[in-house]
């Protein structure tokens, strides 16, 4: 299941950068964040997942990358407030786009913005957290996927 889910998020990330940044993002090999070590860059956002799955999706990026991306969406004077807003919007977009494959039962919350290190990953018990490395325009960022199939979606 993990491989299929990660592929869906990889597609969502690729679509985001191709549409918004006009350039392909390169995705690295996903790896297990087994120690739950801090994987955070300067700005992070998290979206809670309920319904057919339980868990969280994070997107985290360094300030320099966000400052490079913001002018491409028309923001000529990037600042920390816009950086925080942008990681929230990216997290929302890649999570919502995943419903193309995962269906309407994959329910997403509004994004919650987290600033600075460390990022503590909140994961359902016994679930694993995968890190999907994303490189765009030589800038690194990460998508963290911590999901578990929910056998009783109506109870989430």
């Amino acid at each position: 299941m993990e491989e299929a889910i990660l592929k869906i998020f990889a597609q969502s990330v690729t679509r985001y950068f191709a549409t918004v940044a006009g350039g392909e993002a390169t995705l690295g090999t996903p790896y297990l964040n087994s120690d739950r070590e801090s994987a955070a860059f300067d700005f992070s956002a998290v979206i809670g997942i309920t319904g057919t799955h339980r868990g969280n999706i994070y997107y985290t990026a360094p300030r320099e990358k966000l400052h490079a991306l913001l002018p491409l969406i028309g923001e000529k004077e990037p600042d920390d407030r816009l950086c925080a807003e942008l990681v929230g919007e990216i997290t929302n977009t890649i999570s919502g786009n995943a419903r193309e494959e995962l269906g309407a039962g994959f329910m997403i919350s509004t994004p919650f913005i987290l600033e600075g290190n460390p990022l503590t990953v909140h994961a359902p018990k016994d679930s694993t957290c995968y890190i999907l490395p994303v490189t765009w325009n030589r800038h690194r960022s990460r998508v963290l996927v911590s999901l578990q199939a929910n056998p009783s979606p109506e109870k989430s």
Binding site: I73, E75, L82, G88, E89, N92, T93, N97, R99, T110
Partner: protein
């Protein structure tokens, strides 16, 4: 024309505003959730509404319902990241005239607004 932009994301509200033909849209209002959207709709009676779905307080689909009850002729373009077909179908069923999937570009927003206004 008057436009109401509804989205909890500042980035999106600003992106949509930048994409507009400012000769056509001379009055622009914004709201950050569905409840405020309904209030703003009543107050300003915009010609067009762009409506996000996933928002705090009240989601966009509920807001579409409430706005359509107040004005069955309201023109609403849903702009959302929710990519499953059933959400788009549900939005249209509730009265929205169009559905634009995020991520968007200035061109895609502009074209989607022009299209629903030409209908």
């Amino acid at each position: 024309m008057k436009l109401l932009i509804v989205d909890d994301s500042l980035i999106m509200r600003r992106a949509i505003e930048r994409s507009l033909n400012h000769t056509r849209f001379t009055e622009i209002h914004t709201a950050t959730n569905g409840r405020l959207a309904v209030e703003m709709f009543e107050k300003h009676r915009p010609d067009v509404v762009t409506m996000d779905i996933t928002m705090p307080d009240m989601d966009g689909l509920t807001a579409v319902d409430l706005i359509m009850k107040k004005d069955p002729a309201a023109v609403i373009l849903v702009v959302s990241a929710l990519a499953d077909k059933s959400t788009a179908v549900e939005a249209v069923k509730r009265g929205a005239q169009g559905f634009l999937l995020k991520p968007v570009t200035a061109e895609s927003v502009h074209n989607a607004l022009e299209e629903i206004l030409s209908d």
